[in-house]
Amino acid sequence: MTFRRFVDGVQWLVAALAALTVILLLVAQPSEASGAAPDLGEGATVFASNCAGCHGSDGSGGVGPALVGEDVLAGFVDSQSVARFVSVGVPGRMPGFETRLTPEEIDAVAGLVFSGLGS
């Protein structure tokens, strides 16, 4: 097989992969095992769009640490201390959200996180 025919074959495969990606976008459903964050009002909305990308939609962790079922919240005495942490962030590890979210949004998501994501 010539290199040109090999590249042609790869292009057909990738075209099929692109079609499969579009189909998956249309039909894929979130898995139940790691379901969406519970519906706890604004906090859940803020969590889904700002935190879930790193901490997972159910807080089970990802690039960021898990927020449920571990000791990550042990150092916080109340939701306000979580809110301060969320506002400032950790240089090099987690962005601060002081300029990205309103104080009300930070309070809402901090309350949600401190409650163990509603669990």
Binding site: F3, L17, G53, G56, V63
Partner: protein
């Protein structure tokens, strides 16, 4: 029919068709990302610790392949003179690198669209710009492929389309992978 009453040349019509299809692809991606309820879930991570690490590195590899695309295209068009002798596989190597770059971008785009969605709030500048650039990239890519395949438009159409794809990709990397490496550390595997 053009504004001055002459019939548009076939290649010009094909250029408009390519641009229309590209625009439709970009808009379709943006609409999907806006109306789809983001799952917030991890998807592909391969041998990385999580999906975001995979995405940051995959996008970096896509940019590396795109740099080869740029260089090989410049050599084919005689804009650079190295290597002095073009190997017989050069043109097909150009095609293969572009194909692999596109393939590697697909799982990244899937997570962006399915798991995170389109950021409509322009005060979230990085995410807003990244969302727009991602949609623009796939639209420009579709237009570029159609221009190549159909030999559409004047001679400047292909380099402009290729340049738009490359520029969008670099901007996408700056607003995602670079942000990721500077926020979470390097190499963040």
């Amino acid at each position: 029919m053009t504004a001055n009453g002459t019939v548009a040349a076939p290649s010009q019509r094909r250029l408009w068709l390519a641009l229309t299809v590209g625009g439709a692809v970009a808009i379709a991606a943006g609409v999907y990302g806006s109306v789809h309820d983001p799952s917030g879930q991890q998807t592909v991570s391969l041998f990385f610790s999580n999906t975001l690490s995979f995405k940051a590195w995959a996008t970096t590899i896509v940019v590396a392949l795109a740099l080869f695309q740029l260089w090989s295209a410049l050599r084919m068009w005689g804009k650079v003179s190295w290597p002095r002798e073009m190997p017989s596989w050069w043109g097909d190597g150009h095609r293969l690198s572009g194909t692999l770059a596109f393939a590697l971008s697909l799982p990244v785009a899937f997570h962006c669209l399915w798991s995170l969605g389109f950021e409509p709030d322009f005060t979230e500048l990085r995410r807003f710009a990244h969302s727009l650039l991602g949609c623009f990239f796939y639209g420009a890519f579709a237009a570029k492929v159609l221009i190549v395949r159909s030999h559409a438009g004047p001679s400047w159409a292909l380099p402009v389309a290729g340049g738009a794809v490359f520029t969008a990709l670099v901007a996408i990397w700056l607003t995602s992978s670079l942000w990721f490496f500077t926020t979470f550390g390097f190499p963040a595997l």
